[in-house]
Amino acid sequence: MAETASKIKSNALSQVEKGESLWVGAWHRLRKNKMALLGSIFIILLIGFSFIGPFFLEDNYYTYQELEQKMQGPNKEYILGTDHLGRDQLGRIIKGGQISLMVGLVATVVSLTIGIGYGTISGYFGGNIDRFMMRIVDILYSLPFTIFVILLMVFAKDLGDSIDTWFKEMGSNYSISGQWNMLLLFIAIGAVEWLTMARIVRGQVLSLRKQEFIEACISLGLPTHRIIFRHMVPNVLGPVIVYTTLTIPAVMLLEAFLSFLGLGVQPPTPSWGLLIKDGADRMREAPWMLVYPGAMFALALFSFNFVGDGLRDALDPKTSKD
């Protein structure tokens, strides 16, 4: 009898110990969210479409043009039609997807790095340093940042060209103006989008430092690195992941906005924003030039937003109580 009793007891104990971890629980909740699942499937398909698709096409799939074939509606040869210069729209949309996704990811990583660094320092030191650093963020929030980005893109674009001429004078054929614009986009967009991330991380770090479970860890005598990596980081990570998925569409939107004004990536390299611009200019004669890139772009934003929302619901401790 005593044996079984202890068995039951140990069973009960082991069951208690097995409780769902944050990530397992989050996954269970996320799985129930149909829209978020659909969104993540679409994102995976999109990445495949943009990065594996080119392997099935010619090398110059997004620049090759047949002028006699310009502005053809969707047909057997060109599934999505051709643009005003007789280029295959399908190829352009694939390449545009590569560029848009890449800008979205890299610029998000830039803003993530700045935001987490700034937020952690501000929250960790607290006091006057925190007040000062957050006041700067408040002030930056109230500035017309898009205007600065526009100025930066206009002025720095020519800087790339003049660096190229300088290379030529030095007798080198190396040209950076193509990559230069992409690099600028990463930096400019990343420099704008870090503010909210800094606020979120700072708030998390600040409130975590005062919470009972961290105090409990300290009184249990856990080493500092264990407290930080096992107990603080997982709690900051949730909001960071959520906000990252929500930053990607914001960044893609800003890139498309700049491309639409003629300030983003430079032709002949397409991005979705540029394709939408080309389509909008010619929508009377060739509506398909607007519809397909526009639909792809909207669907991508849709998916990222749904996944972000789903992750927020899944990782938010408030909703996980019930």
Binding site: L143, L261, A298
Partner: protein, 310 residues
């Protein structure tokens, strides 16, 4: 309260100085100049032009001259007009566009948000909420052409371009509908999501139950008690929304060919029209800071929990 406002106004001075310095030196460090495109410019003429616009002086002297005299400076590309002239002529068009868009955004957004919050997770919630999601994912530069395609090209109800006749002097014209709608719908989507979230938070509070318990009618509980708290997230969104509306107006003015300040700004940056760029940036920065201050004051008046920190 007065102390708070004074402190904020004092704070804006260094901020505006920083904005001016950043803009000015960014302009001047960039290669190219305002007279690069005019082909037949001899060295003497160029020197003369540089002298006329004070471009031959050292940079810090120029910066100082720009700052003290900004509205009266000549534009480089239109030497007969000053920066102040151009802004006061073009800004009313942009301001009207922004105002109409904001009205549409608030009207549609709050209505949809409140409706969605009344019966959460029912069809009354799903329909406005998914419409809002679609609105957020259709950026203005996709929405604009789509609206033009439907309402101008296919149905032929509304004009596709223009703004209140030739130079925007008609008070209200049918060609103002599509641009303001395009700009407004994007923000309506955001506002409806914020309203829904805010209202859902408020409607479960004890004081709403108290209001219902003392026999207040449902519309009265909604309008008098819930809305005030439920709209707080919307109010705090107004600051960023204003900045966003200004940036959005650049795109809208391009799509619909509206003679507003946004188009001039982008053009002036390409033309290296230093005075106009600096003037427009300073103007927008001041505008945004002032509107943010108003939003902050509004927020504290609506929410007694927040106190003016001093």
């Amino acid at each position: 309260m007065i102390k708070f406002i004074l402190r904020r106004i004092l704070e804006t001075v260094p901020v505006l100085l920083c904005v001016a310095a950043m803009t000015f030196f960014m302009c001047r460090l960039a290669p190219g100049g305002p007279f690069d495109d005019d082909k037949q410019v001899t060295a003497e003429v160029r020197e003369q032009l540089n002298k006329q616009f004070n471009l031959d002086k050292p940079l810090h002297v120029q910066f100082y001259q720009y700052l003290i005299n900004l509205p009266n400076l000549q534009s480089f590309k239109y030497p007969s007009r000053t920066v102040g002239d151009i802004i006061s002529q073009k800004f009313p068009v942009s301001a009207k566009l922004g105002f109409l868009a904001m009205c549409i955004a608030l009207g549609i957004g709050i209505m949809f948000g409140v409706i969605a919050s009344l019966r959460p997770n029912s069809y009354i919630d799903y329909i406005p909420s998914s419409l809002a999601m679609i609105g957020i994912c259709l950026p203005t530069f996709v929405m604009g052409p789509i609206l033009i395609y439907i309402f101008s090209l296919k149905l032929k109800w509304l004009p596709a371009t223009g703004w209140g006749g030739f130079d925007g002097d008609i008070f209200f014209a049918s060609d103002m509908i599509l641009p303001s709608l395009t700009l407004g719908l994007f923000y309506a989507a955001y506002i409806s999501r914020l309203t829904r979230g805010g209202m859902l938070d408020i409607l479960t509070q004890d004081y709403i139950r108290t209001a219902k318990a003392k026999g207040a009618s449902a519309p009265r509980v909604l309008m008098k008690h819930a809305l005030r708290g439920g709209l707080l997230p919307v109010i705090s969104f107004m600051g960023p929304a204003v900045a966003g509306l200004i940036a959005g107006s650049f795109v809208i003015e391009t799509i619909f060919n509206i003679p507003g300040l946004g188009q001039d700004f982008v053009k002036s940056a390409f033309n290296r029209d230093y005075t106009l760029v600096l003037g427009v940036v300073m103007f927008y920065a001041t505008l945004i800071i002032v509107l943010n201050l108003i939003v902050d004051i509004l927020q504290v008046t609506l929410n007694p929990k927040l106190k003016f920190e001093s």
